[in-house]
């Protein structure tokens, strides 16, 4: 049973790594800032959440998983605020795209 849980955790961690690698790939793929932040940073967040979920599955229910849940909760609360602050700073400072409605 524990062997099976460990394999499931490993597979979930590998999926998360693929998401993270896609995010880093996308940061060099696009030419302008808004498409970069839209795709890259957020896919990176998906990878983070997936890797943490995989670690929780792998370790089972103990204090170690509790601490990982604390890290995850902190990241989920603070990450959108940081992204919002960067994007709003760019918007206010006059970085524009062609279309707006």
């Amino acid at each position: 049973m524990t062997q099976a849980m460990e394999w499931i955790g490993n597979i979930v961690i590998i999926i998360g790594l693929i998401f993270m690698a896609l995010g880093v790939f996308g940061i060099f793929r696009f030419r302008d800032y808004f498409s970069r932040i839209l795709i890259t940073a957020k896919v990176d967040t998906v990878g983070f959440i997936t890797i943490m979920l995989g670690l929780i599955i792998k370790h089972g229910f103990d204090f170690f998983s509790g601490k990982i849940i604390l890290v995850l909760a902190l990241y989920i609360i603070t990450n959108p605020i940081a992204t919002h602050a960067i994007t709003r700073s760019a918007h206010i400072s006059g970085y524009r795209i062609k279309k707006e409605r």
Binding site: I27, A41, L55, A82
Partner: protein, 86 residues
């Protein structure tokens, strides 16, 4: 070399690319984006180091690095937004 060490190596390699974006970015917001990417990689790497050496205090390090990265990003964004007046 077990599974966790391989994952840690891959994450360290990915974080280098985030730093390349910080050095290379054409605008200042690209640099901030690269910094946010790098700090999330550092959090994951700290948790994996804690698993490999089998100590739980490394997760506290990850928590504190998360708070510091958040405050750094917010402060730089405010600094740029108000054109030098924090």
């Amino acid at each position: 070399m077990d599974f966790d060490s391989i994952v840690l190596t891959i994450i360290a390699g990915l974080s280098v690319f985030g730093l390349v974006r910080v050095l290379d970015g054409p605008t200042v917001w690209d640099r901030m984006l690269g910094f946010a990417l790098f700090s999330s990689k550092v959090i994951v790497a700290a948790v994996f180091i804690g698993i490999i050496i089998n100590r739980t205090y490394m997760i506290d390090v990850a928590l504190i690095y998360g708070v510091l990265g958040f405050i750094g990003t917010i402060m730089i964004a405010r600094f740029v937004e108000r054109k030098g007046d924090v």
